[in-house]
């Protein structure tokens, strides 16, 4: 019946009618008698483009079909047993897939994932971001999974074509995803959290049908790149079905958190320790601020007007929450504020929204007791398909997991899956080792040069001791004892401690250094937020050693680019930033040796050390080949103590 109706539609079209008339005429000419139904059957069998459809239209259509087929291949149907399930999307050939926290929460550590190839794969939970409703899982068993690339979601415009590929209502029993297409309805939307979790900040709003079960699946652009991960919809009077208002976590937010998630962490979102409000004259001003916050320490005060955060201008309270909601706790971001007509720019270190214990409780499904507003979402705003119950196993015994998953899971408090932290730590360690020249030079390191002010300096680092000789005097740190004895900058013992740990990291790797884990990724340079492509991200290692906490940023080339060193959790760290290969600098420094070492503490610059000579010994007493002989170091500017 449907087909007859369809044919009538075709026949109503003048061009099709003309075409059929031509066919009938042709048939009569060759003497073939056909009953009308036969003609109609023939019409039904023929592709429609036998009519007047332009070739460009057909090719555009074919292109779209191809894009959707590729996206479908990367779509994951996640099954959390009786508790429900949802969707996911593969982002790399080795099987990493993004999905929602609320999709995997009932599943726990191990789950089954179906792909469009019709096969079912074991998958293991890697990282969780309950606040942002994001989870990273890894499908096992292949290194050539089909995957889709993360787009730059800041380039997305309202009106752009988009489509979702997922598992709405868990229809995909054969793992073939459902496609729903639409347009981007809104950008930079803010959707209030339920309590303190499932906050959708700076999200994309689409009119493509997002139904329960679509959660966690990819939202794709016309080229098949991932612009977001679907996860939420506005529901109202029709029950829990699409009303043309779905929300997706932006690809750029996902990119900010991906490093932390890959490190197997239980990730937290950021707070600045300050709240903002709209003033009577429409400005966004600081309405409350904690004196313990980094923002306060950097100078932010009540009634200061917020101009921009992390490179984005802030004209409404929503805009402020939108920017903040896409940032991980622990990052430093630029903040511009105005006070009495004066514009100030500071770097603010963001704190976590939750304590580690609170996060762990959320993940284990224990009741969340937020200090803030009641956890019921506002009317009409609802996280989809959370009706799967809370069968969260917490930290399951290793042997309760499927055999295929067991080698990929290691429980540790504060982590989602510590196994992946060790993988990432190993990757960074190999990059450091591969960088080369420094790792073989296990003896005394002597660096000499001039400060930006022109005065000479000399730094010596060895297994036993660190020494810095400045015009103002010399400072020594015992490398074998606790490193928190000599407080940061004044001397600066903090700088020496940081450099000693750097030397040990480069020579020995993270494992012998102390308790060292992979932190995740951070902006290589916080000011990079102002660039069009956003900040370039680099890896960071975190060490707890000899009474101090140190964090090392490591570029993709394996070079350590900065060190932060804390002697107490609430104190400002000593910050050491390396710059490599200044053009005006003599280039005889070994690879991995910075040409500029910038040292800061709090709001103060301790010094900018321009390294002119570096004498690195291969091992104790031995002179390094290709670098300055130790005897010559006495002639270096500022040498001799």
């Amino acid at each position: 019946m449907r087909q007859i109706l369809f044919m009538r539609q075709i026949l109503d079209q003048p061009s099709a009618a003309r075409w059929i008339a031509a066919v009938v005429q042709a048939c009569q000419r060759i003497g073939v008698v056909l009953v009308a139904s036969g003609v109609m059957a023939a019409v039904a069998m023929l592709p429609v483009h036998a009519g007047d459809v332009a070739a460009s239209v057909l090719s555009a259509q074919q292109q779209r079909i191809d894009v959707m087929r590729r996206a479908s291949a990367a779509a994951v149907a996640i099954f959390a047993g009786e508790a429900g399930g949802g969707s996911g999307v593969l982002i790399s050939p080795d099987g990493y897939a993004l999905t929602n926290f609320h999709v995997v929460q009932p599943a726990g550590i191990a789950m089954k994932c179906g792909l469009a190839d019709g096969r079912l794969y074991d998958a293991v939970l890697v990282g969780l971001d309950p606040t942002g409703d994001v989870a990273l899982v890894k499908l096992l068993g292949r290194d050539d999974f089909p995957s889709a690339e993360l787009a730059d979601s800041d380039d997305v415009e309202v009106g752009d074509f988009c489509f979702a590929a997922g598992n709405p209502f868990l229809l995909a029993t054969d793992f073939q995803p459902s496609i729903s297409a639409g347009i981007v309805s809104g950008m930079r939307r803010y959707q209030f959290p339920a309590g303190t979790i499932l906050e959708y900040a700076d999200c994309l709003q689409v009119d493509a049908a997002i139904n329960p079960g679509n959660s966690g699946g990819g939202l794709f652009d016309a080229e098949g790149r991932i612009i977001g991960v679907n996860g939420r919809a506005s529901f109202e009077k029709r029950g829990r079905v699409n009303v043309g208002v779905g929300y997706a976590i932006s690809a750029n937010q996902l990119r900010h958190f991906l490093g932390l998630l890959k490190g197997g962490r239980l990730v937290d979102h950021a707070t600045m320790g300050a709240t903002v409000a709209t003033s009577a004259d429409g400005r966004v001003v600081v309405s409350d601020i904690l004196e313990s916050s980094d923002a306060w320490k950097r100078g932010l005060r009540y009634d200061d007007e917020i101009v921009s955060l992390a490179g984005r201008s802030v004209r409404t309270v929503n805009a402020f929450k939108n920017v903040l909601g896409t940032l991980p706790a622990g990052w430093r971001v630029p903040l511009v504020y105005r006070r009495g007509g004066r514009r100030e720019e500071i770097l603010v270190r963001l704190a976590g929204v939750h304590t580690a214990a609170e996060l762990a409780n959320i993940v284990e499904g224990k009741s969340q007791k937020p200090a803030g507003p009641p956890p019921s979402p506002p009317r009409g705003q609802d996280g989809p398909d959370q009706d799967g119950g809370h069968r969260q196993p917490g930290e399951p015994a290793q042997d309760s997991l499927p055999a295929a998953v067991r080698p990929f899971y290691e429980a540790r408090r504060g982590f989602t899956n510590h196994h992946f932290n060790m993988l990432e730590r190993g990757r960074v360690a190999r990059a450091i080792a591969a960088d080369g020249e420094l790792t073989a030079l296990g003896g005394r390191w002597v660096l000499a040069g001039r400060l930006a002010t022109g005065e000479a300096f000399r730094i010596e680092l060895s297994d036993k001791e660190g020494m810095i000789d400045l015009p103002t005097g010399a400072t020594r740190v015992d490398a074998t004892g606790e490193l928190d004895l000599n407080p940061s900058p004044p001397g600066s013992g903090g700088m020496l401690a940081a450099l000693l740990l750097w030397r040990r990291l480069v020579l020995e790797g993270p494992e012998p250094l102390g308790r060292t884990s992979y932190w995740g990724t951070v902006p290589a340079d916080p000011v990079g937020f102002n660039e069009a492509d956003g900040p370039r991200l680099v890896d960071m290692l975190e060490s707890s050693v000899a009474g101090v906490e140190a964090r090392f940023t490591v570029g993709g080339d394996g070079k350590v680019s900065g060190i932060e060193l804390w002697t107490a959790p609430d104190a400002d760290p000593c910050e050491v930033r390396f710059t490599f290969a200044l053009p005006a600098q003599p280039q005889d420094l070994p690879r991995g040796m910075p040409s500029i070492i910038e040292v800061r503490h709090g709001n103060e610059l301790f010094g900018e050390f321009r390294v002119e000579k570096a004498a690195l010994e291969q091992s104790a007493g031995e002179v390094g080949g290709g670098v300055l002989p130790a005897t010559e170091t006495g002639a270096l500017p500022g040498g001799g103590t």
């Binding site: 460009s56 555009a60 415009e157 009106g159 639409g182 043309g244």
Partner: protein, 341 residues
């Protein structure tokens, strides 16, 4: 399969046609959204939203929107696409079309031209721009949805148990526009021309489903002209000779029912006004109404709805239970007056 191909092809053609025009869909939406405002007024309690949408129809700050409880506020705020906020005053309403015109003190605003232009045919691709769910705040742009005009039909709809007074043609859209905050939103074609305005949240009186519809721009133009010239009135709304079928209050029959406190409050009669049709028919306090015109009514709401469904002049027959027995009462013709909101 071929059906699918045709649909997809039509979509592709649609995109190509849109692209072949001077403006891309993105540009069309951005241009049209500048002429749409977010309206904040009364509400925010008991499921009534305090926000809706409006359309700028003159550069001097006239905004057309739907007449609703949101506008029953001492202070109405309109927020433009660029975030500018204005206090709005009510210029007037057209109850027959359920339209209202607001005014803000501004100049040289981007605005739609309201002309009694030709209707667009069914099949026209459209964008709907609205402040749905109030998700757009301040300078955030209203939401854009895409769809097609599915049909052009006379509106037959109700809100709660009340028939809506508008009886003209509306565009039925295959786009879920029936959302809180959407009323007053702009429906534009792919060239950005105003096709119509999203109406209030209504259900079809035939099927009970929520309607996704828009009031055609020609009706908007008529309503706007009527309001700005001061000729709009509810009297003009009802075509001569046709009975008013708007909301209806049992009080006009002399009936006061028990307060509607429960989901399904039983329709007990609380008091009967002296000398009223109800009193003359012999109804008494504590009677439980069980049917209207022989059709069962299980709750107060159902009774109200059944009474509303009667045309003025229809004979009102109630069946009540009194002391365990069923008593039939005839109240005479339903009065024409008694519409309430």
């Amino acid at each position: 399969m071929i059906r699918h191909t045709v649909v997809v092809t039509a979509m592709v053609i649609g995109f190509l046609v849109g692209r072949a025009d001077a403006a891309s869909p993105q540009e069309t939406i951005a241009g049209a959204a500048r002429k749409v405002v977010k309206i904040h007024g009364a509400g925010g309690v008991r499921g009534l939203e305090a926000y809706q949408t409006g359309i700028l129809v003159s550069p001097a700050g006239h905004i057309i929107t739907v007449m609703s409880t949101v506008l029953d506020a001492d202070e109405l705020t309109c927020v433009l696409d660029d975030g500018r906020r204005y206090r709005a005053t009510m210029l007037g309403v057209d109850p027959s079309r359920e339209l209202a015109v607001l005014s803000i003190e501004a100049e040289e605003l981007p605005a739609f031209t309201l002309a009694a232009s030709d209707r667009v045919p069914a099949g026209t691709r459209i964008f709907a721009l609205s402040n749905l769910f109030g998700v757009a705040v301040g300078d955030e742009r209203v939401s854009a949805q895409h769809g097609v005009v599915s049909a052009i039909v006379p509106l037959e709809a109700r809100r709660g148990s009340y028939e809506v007074p508008y009886r003209g043609d509306v565009y039925i859209l295959d786009c879920t526009t029936n959302n809180p905050g959407s009323p007053g939103g702009a429906v534009v074609d792919w060239r950005g021309r105003l096709v119509g305005m999203l109406g209030k949240e209504l259900r079809s009186s035939g099927s009970g489903i929520w309607l996704n519809y828009a009031i055609p721009s020609e009706s908007l133009a008529e309503g706007y002209a009527a309001i700005t010239s001061g000729t709009a009135s509810s009297a003009a709304a009802t075509p001569a000779g046709e009975p008013m079928r708007a909301g209806f209050d049992p009080a006009t029959l002399g009936l006061v029912l028990v307060p509607d406190l429960l989901d399904r409050t039983p329709p007990f009669i609380e008091t009967v006004a002296a000398e009223s049709p109800a009193a003359r028919a012999g109804l008494r306090p504590d009677d439980l109404v069980i049917a209207v015109g022989g059709r069962a009514v299980a709750s107060r709401a159902a009774l109200q709805q059944a009474l509303s469904a009667l045309a003025a002049g229809d004979v009102v027959r109630l069946s009540v239970v009194r002391s365990g027995a069923i008593v039939e009462c005839e109240l005479g013709p339903r009065p024409a007056s008694g519409r309430n909101r």
